[in-house]
């Protein structure tokens, strides 16, 4: 079966989404993952955007979370206050799974999407938090899309935009955050999860044909690779839905 790594990443993410989840999506591959989940394994999951759209019926892939395509056939179309309250709310928030991305990630799943270099004189400026910090702060489960590159899996973030497990198992509690934090990181090579005890990243799965050591070579920090198994590639059915239904114009894929 021929598939791209981007298709693989999308399908891996989609499989994590359950029927009783409210899925927070950002722009790009995370939307595609949610659309795929809705078509493949979790038809009743609720797709939801920080812009205020709840249960959007995505007939076309949006190019931004404010795209008019997220406003069509929703359960309600409010604003940012509604959306973030839904995540911070102790009842509805517990159902939300966040999908995030970043420029840098550390071993505890903390994210940087603000700057590379000194915050006060940055070498590279990125978009900033957006809703990323909010989602990462509020929700009990999240997954993170990353490109597996040494400059992105760093020992020390240049700026901590979105809290993961902070400095370890007690990090979020000490900071005053609700329990939760990232569950997995999906890259173009592998799937990383966080150890229940240490809250440190470990290699959970590698894509067919990729060696665990090759994954480690793309990271500044070392992680446990002893639990790594091979990740099941996308099925023909999954790929067909992705390509024909979710993103026929291949705007994201």
């Amino acid at each position: 079966m021929d598939y791209t790594l981007r298709e693989m990443m999308t399908v891996v993410a989609a499989r994590e989404i359950k029927n009783d989840d409210i899925v927070f999506c950002g722009t790009g591959i995370s939307m595609l993952a949610a659309m795929a989940a809705k078509s493949i394994n979790a038809p009743d999951c609720v797709i939801f955007f920080e812009t205020g759209a709840i249960d959007a019926a995505l007939e076309e892939i949006p190019m931004a979370v404010a795209d008019s395509r997220v406003m069509y056939h929703t359960a309600s179309s409010g604003g940012l206050l509604d959306a973030f309250a839904t995540m911070q709310n102790p009842t509805t928030g517990q159902k939300v799974i966040g999908i995030l991305g970043a420029a840098q990630i550390d071993i505890f799943g903390n994210l940087n999407s603000t700057v590379i270099g000194d915050y006060f004189a940055p070498k590279t400026r990125f978009s900033g938090s957006g809703g990323g910090c909010d989602v990462a702060s509020f929700v009990p489960r999240s997954m993170i899309f990353m490109q597996h590159e040494k400059r992105k899996f760093v020992k020390q973030l240049d700026y901590l935009t979105s809290p993961g497990h902070l400095d370890g198992p007690d990090g979020r509690r000490k900071a005053g955050l609700p329990a939760g934090g990232p569950e997995l990181v999906i890259t173009n090579m592998a799937v990383m999860r966080f150890d229940d005890t240490t809250k440190q990243m470990y290699l959970d799965g590698v894509y067919p044909g990729i060696e665990p050591q090759a994954v480690l070579d793309q990271m500044q920090f070392s992680v446990d690779i002893s639990r790594a198994r091979e990740v099941l590639p996308p099925s023909a059915g999954e790929l067909a839905i992705l390509r024909e239904k979710c993103d026929p114009q291949r705007l994201i894929l």
Partner: protein, 326 residues
């Protein structure tokens, strides 16, 4: 003009001249590539207004064009991006990397709460967002700068232990300070002459931005005559008592989208992104599309009927279905 006046319709140039000044603190509605008040933004650029202090949550095109044209000195922002067209706004990025723009970073919810606090007339609002992050620890605006500008709060934010012990299973919260801009610019689908506004689709944080502001300039796709907006007035989000100026500007959000009216223009946004990467090309862009047109109507005419027809919203979905967006 009194905010209770019954007819606030005026030309866009007059509204900008009256309410937007060098160095003023300004908020803009919309989000990334949707319902940005672009006609008003282009008018500000053409008027040569400088040193603006901008407040936005997630803005894209409007912020980038204001920065690119050199109108902005400081920005308090959560996200500068135009979706897939520019994951990080390009002139925004260049200006920061060149040290030409002072930035204070918040999250989207925090910026929204700050507008809400201004609208509610309270000095701050609480959230659990950003605890443990550098948003709390790193302040873009120094205490010295804050002390020197009476329009700025003394602190970026503050962390407070919950005075209700563990009520809400919460030990501490981040308090973010209210924003009360001098002026807010919004583009809405419908407004009447007094300024009652009806927004279709998502309202983003427009309503909070509007109500937080000392002055409010509204551009609208449709200027509703008479009592039209008093029918089902529970669909109006902004009553006229907050509004200072109403301007009828069809396609006033172009090249960003306006739900149920038109989509964003992928050709414009892509060409903009290409130009923005290169200073020379960007100058050409400004000369042709901003300084080179007299007003928004002329820009729309220059884009031409064919392209404008191509982004016309499908009445069922509210966007241009099957638009080529590659």
């Amino acid at each position: 003009m009194s905010k209770l006046a019954k007819d606030k319709v005026m030309p866009l140039e007059a509204a900008v001249k009256t309410y937007v000044h060098d160095g003023c603190h300004m908020a803009i509605g919309g989000f990334t590539i949707n319902r940005n008040p672009m006609a008003a933004v282009y008018t500000i650029i053409r008027a040569g207004i400088k040193n603006l202090h901008l407040y936005v949550h997630s803005n894209g095109q409007a912020v980038d064009e204001l920065i690119g044209a050199g109108c902005v000195a400081k920005v308090e922002i959560a996200y500068g991006g135009s979706g897939k067209f520019a994951a990080t706004c390009i002139r925004f990025r260049k200006a920061i990397e060149a040290g030409l723009l002072q930035v204070e970073d918040y999250s989207n919810y925090q910026m929204t709460l700050r507008f809400l606090a201004g609208a509610m007339g309270v000095p701050f609002l609480p959230t659990r967002s950003s605890l443990g992050s550098d948003i709390v620890d790193k302040w873009g605006f120094s205490e010295g700068l804050r002390r020197s500008d009476p329009k700025l709060p003394n602190r970026k934010l503050t962390v407070l232990d919950n005075p209700f012990e563990d009520w809400g299973n919460t030990e501490k919260v981040v308090l973010v300070p209210a924003i009360t801009p001098d002026v807010t610019l919004l583009h809405v689908q419908q407004a009447d002459r007094a300024g009652n506004c009806r927004i279709d689709g998502l309202s983003f944080a427009d309503v909070e931005q509007a109500k937080a502001s000392k002055h409010l300039v509204v551009t609208c796709e449709a200027l509703m005559e008479g009592d039209a907006l008093h029918e089902n007035a529970h669909h109006n989000q902004i009553p006229f008592i907050h509004v200072d100026a109403v301007v009828h500007v069809p396609f006033g959000a172009y090249p960003t989208a306006c739900y149920q009216h038109y989509d964003y223009d992928p050709a414009y946004l892509k060409a903009y992104a290409v130009a923005a990467k290169d200073d020379e090309k960007y100058k050409d862009y400004l000369d042709t599309y901003v300084y080179g047109v007299a007003d928004h109507q002329t820009l729309i005419e220059r884009i031409g009927t064919e392209r404008m027809d191509g982004i016309k919203a499908d009445p069922r979905t509210g966007y241009a279905a099957n638009l080529d967006r590659r």
